[in-house]
Amino acid sequence: MRDLEKIEVDTLVVGSGIAGLQSALDLADQGFSVAIVEKAPSIGGKMISLSKVFPTLDCASCITTPRMASVSHHPRITTLTYSTVDAIRRDGKTFTASVTRKPRYIDEGECISCKRCEEVCPVFVPDEYEQGLGAKKTISIPFTNAIPQYPVMHPEHCIRCGACARACPKDCIEFLQEPAPVEIKAKAVILATGYETTPMTAKKQYGLGKLPNVISPMAAERLLAPHGPYGRVLRPSDGMTPGSIAYVQCAGSRDKSIGIPYCSRVCCMYAIKQAILLSGSLPIADITIYYMDIRAFGKGYEQFYNNARAMGINFVKAKVARITEDEGHNPILRIERQEGTSGPEEVKHELVVLSQGLIPGHDASAFGLGTENNDFGFLKLSDEMVSSAVTAGAGVFAAGVVKGPRDIPDSVVDAGSAPWKPPAI
């Protein structure tokens, strides 16, 4: 272990997705000092990897990168990436967080982000930022607009050839780097630990993630992103341009059989958005959305839904019972239409997106701060009729999806209300 680094701030923000970034900025702009701890190598959370965002269809990068840059340039914000919060201790009215900086295996003080190490590294690994649809080097900067621009080495894939160390002009590759402990003292804590999507294996009737052309919505986001893995929409099994694409709604929400009875709030809208983007990039493709109820409840959402219908996207009210595939890896959906009189039928598509729901990204109660979770693991507020941010733990506030699924506009609004007056010392 390296020497203990100590940081003292007004507020600690855990998580740097859009809610964490916005909370930190709003608080710092009010004059408070903030430390952000993020487990991933870059700040930006899920939003930075999205293509465009509903209902305005702004490109997600265009909205996220400047916020990321504002955070990294803010004189009152300290950012720790690739770091985990191991424990938070309450001492009277202050908090002490034990944080570990995970080793990137480079000297961050010396690195000039020249990418030479990445260029010479001979080992390719699947790129998780591209949802496994592309490859990256085993030492590489996580993605183009990542902040900070430090490469991360994955020792489990490294063959110790030493090419990176020889190429580095600053001699900053450290094969034997160890984790570094950090202690952060703060007067308030904001939990913005966000979400994960329900796993591809959540519903056994949907292929358990083994059907190559049944993909996750995050993978579809990357396929649709202008700077995505292929620069166009191709299906994974054979690289063919799909002519018929289907969305399976509520594949991971409103489903008691998988323990997720709640509505995830965002899936209708992201499916409609992706369908609109798909009809832009594949003008002759047939796009069908199989749904239970279309929940376009936010400002401008109903109009967005109506636009999608006018563009010729098919909305079919039907719950998909099962997904299988034919010998050409074309997914086959077993459905029963609620309109029309036919019985159950099987429909073939060339690419299927499972509209997965949202589940908690982290168990916030594990920090031991006196906060409580609801039945589904999301953070409970002490009185949501009176405040949108105050939890049962004194001095502990919550922002964004940690409290339950919500979309980007709702998270941004929500995050602004999280910064509170830290308790006086």
Partner: protein, 596 residues
């Protein structure tokens, strides 16, 4: 660098010969898939006055910003042109880069080659590239003629005026007070609480509306930094960021003026009122709205749901009345528009009320006629689930097949083309018809017209950007909280109001507020004192005729001028210009674009 050294540095910078840096953004493919960004950078590198021209994947990212900062440091670049997205998105981002690097932030020109070139000329790559080059060259010509400007600073009242004393208004005032600001709530009704005072049991907590209002009211009354005016009749609102004045009459007829640095619009909603005869409303006493039904449920004796002494044994809920309206199917409202938006809260509210009904009067048959059930909140799906289990029968229709209601002596018949039974035309009998009405914004036309506030197509107040600036209005210093912006429930109104207060606190964090320096500037040597310009000015007090150095000239009040340029257009001697947007700059831009 502290502010003083930075100012000195930027002055020095300005005295040096202009060196323009041009930066062409790929926008991650949004631009570079259509426009040959390398060709644009190469063409600009050769343009007179340009010291360096580069292209990069995301100029707005930290790396992109660092490229500019490095060029300022190493190459002495002292003016910049960024050819990228719309300036509304990122002009401020790049001004910030110049500022941090010690160059006056207004020596920057943001050229839009995305919305204005790559997106609109998708099928003409060569044409889009040529256009991008021309636009960037015009940008260079403009930035070469720019002057270093400084923000105008105005003193700000350290006080927030909150218009509306419902839940959003009370939360906004509480949050503002929590941040050390004085807050003044101005409410037209005789007491605080707004719509909550009339609501019964509310989701998700199950508390009665007045009880929730009381909790917030107690907090408000205990807070010394909050002043409350109820029964206030606003007659005049004026001013600008930092210096607003809200004038109103108290119930005793006296007049009060509140001065405030910021305003929070927490003016709320009205229930949609069905048109005369809409599903029989107004013609038949047994057709009521959801709020009326809740009052009826509250006033009925135990064990017997009744209306005007008559027992109700069955009822039908009709969803989306006044919401999700369809052109050609629904009659327009008084202003000629249909309500094509979803009112967000009515599905959950209706099913929550249905559950309450089933609890109190389990024998009443309930039919629910809907298009989509939108119980999106964390616990809301339970309401739907519980209603189904308790025997509420659901009928689903398409948007163009509206249900029909007919009445005779035996009661009402609801006829619906039900999608759930494969489009069968079904008829059910019901004693009572409950119209699940949506929300419309409260009538705030007076304040809207006096402050020139923007509304969106749905008539609610319009935020600057749903994701970037969701609680700010285009009018600097005015914020929106709660249902004045869009239908939302109490928990959502809490978030929106807390954020509105946070933004007001950020604005008022310093005693004076910086304003953009893009205001009219008069060249007194050229001004003939003809008096044409004040007649064109739409902002009271911004431009007036006066005397200076013994000469009659036009005089601008920079704190009031919005930089609209109406005065520039009528000046016969080119004596007025808007700083940062001068006629000479435009002439040079046009020439650069028109040049062969």
């Amino acid at each position: 660098m502290d502010e003083k050294t930075r100012d000195e540095a930027s002055k020095d910078n300005f005295r040096q010969e202009p060196k323009v840096g041009v930066y062409v953004c790929h926008c991650g493919g949004n631009i570079s898939d259509i426009i040959d960004v390398k060709a644009v950078a190469a063409a600009l590198a050769k343009y007179p006055g340009v010291a360096v021209a580069r292209e990069y994947a995301f100029m707005c990212s930290s790396n992109g910003q660092d490229l500019i900062a490095e060029d300022i440091k190493n190459l002495g670049v002292n003016r910049t042109v960024v050819a990228a997205c719309s300036p509304s998105l990122h002009e401020l981002t790049f001004r910030g880069v110049l500022q941090r690097a010690g160059v006056n932030p207004y020596l920057h020109e943001h050229i839009n080659i995305r919305e204005q070139a790559s997106w609109v000329h998708k099928f003409d790559k060569a044409g889009a590239t040529a256009k991008a080059i021309k636009l960037a060259q015009a940008g260079v010509e403009k930035v070469l003629r720019k002057d270093a400007l400084n923000a105008i600073r105005v003193a700000a009242e350290q006080r927030v005026a909150v218009i509306g004393g419902g839940v959003a208004g009370m939360r906004a005032a509480l949050s503002a007070a929590g941040k050390g600001l004085e807050a003044v709530i101005i409410e037209k009704a005789p007491r605080l609480g707004g719509k909550l005072l009339d609501l019964g049991r509310m989701y998700p907590s199950g508390e009665e509306g007045p009880a929730v209002a009381k909790k917030l009211e107690d907090l408000v009354l205990a807070e010394k930094k909050i002043t409350v005016h109820t029964g206030a009749d606003i007659d005049f609102v004026s001013g600008f960021v930092g210096n607003f004045k809200v004038n109103f009459k108290k119930p005793d007829g006296s007049s009060v003026q509140v001065k405030a640095g910021a305003i929070v619009m927490a003016t709320g909603y009205e229930h949609y009122k069905p048109a005369q005869g809409e599903f029989g409303y107004g013609e038949d006493v047994n057709v009521v709205t959801l709020p009326e039904f809740r009052a009826l449920m509250k006033n009925s004796p135990a064990g017997r749901l009744e209306l005007a002494g008559k027992e109700i044994k069955s009822l039908a809920l009709i969803h989306c009345v006044g919401s999700r309206q369809v052109e050609g199917v629904h009659k327009p409202q008084a202003d000629g528009k249909i309500n094509d938006y979803c009112s967000r809260v009515c599905c959950s509210a209706a099913l929550y009320a249905a559950n309450e009904l089933k609890e109190k009067y389990p024998g009443v048959r309930v039919y629910d006629v809907y298009r989509d059930i939108r119980t999106y909140g964390m616990q809301h799906e339970d309401y739907y689930d519980k209603a189904s289990r308790d025997g509420v029968l659901f009928f689903r229709h398409n948007d163009t097949d509206q249900p029909e209601i007919t009445s005779d002596r035996t009661g009402h018949t609801v006829k619906v083309k039900d999608v759930l039974t494969w489009g069968e035309e079904l008829e059910v009998k019901a004693d009572l018809i409950v119209l699940v009405t949506g929300m419309m914004p409260a009538d705030i036309s007076l304040i809207k017209s006096q402050l020139k506030l923007p509304s969106s197509a749905d008539r609610f107040l319009q935020e600057v950007h749903l994701k970037l600036r969701p609680v700010e209005l285009a009018n600097s210093g005015i914020f929106v909280a709660g249902t004045a912006q869009y239908p939302m429930d109490v928990t959502e109104a809490m978030a929106s109001a807390g954020t509105a207060a946070a933004k007001a606190a950020i604005l008022l964090a310093e005693p004076d507020i910086p304003l953009e320096p893009f205001v009219a500037v008069v060249d007194e040597a050229k001004c003939t004192g003809c008096g044409l310009c004040p007649a064109e000015c739409s902002y009271d007090g911004a431009l007036m005729m006066g005397e200076h150095n013994g000469k009659k000239v036009a005089i601008v009040n920079p704190a009031l001028c919005k930089g609209c340029g109406a005065c520039v257009a009528v000046c016969p001697t080119r004596a007025i210009n808007v700083a940062g947007w001068t006629l000479d700059q435009f002439d040079a831009m046009v020439e650069a674009i028109a040049k062969e």
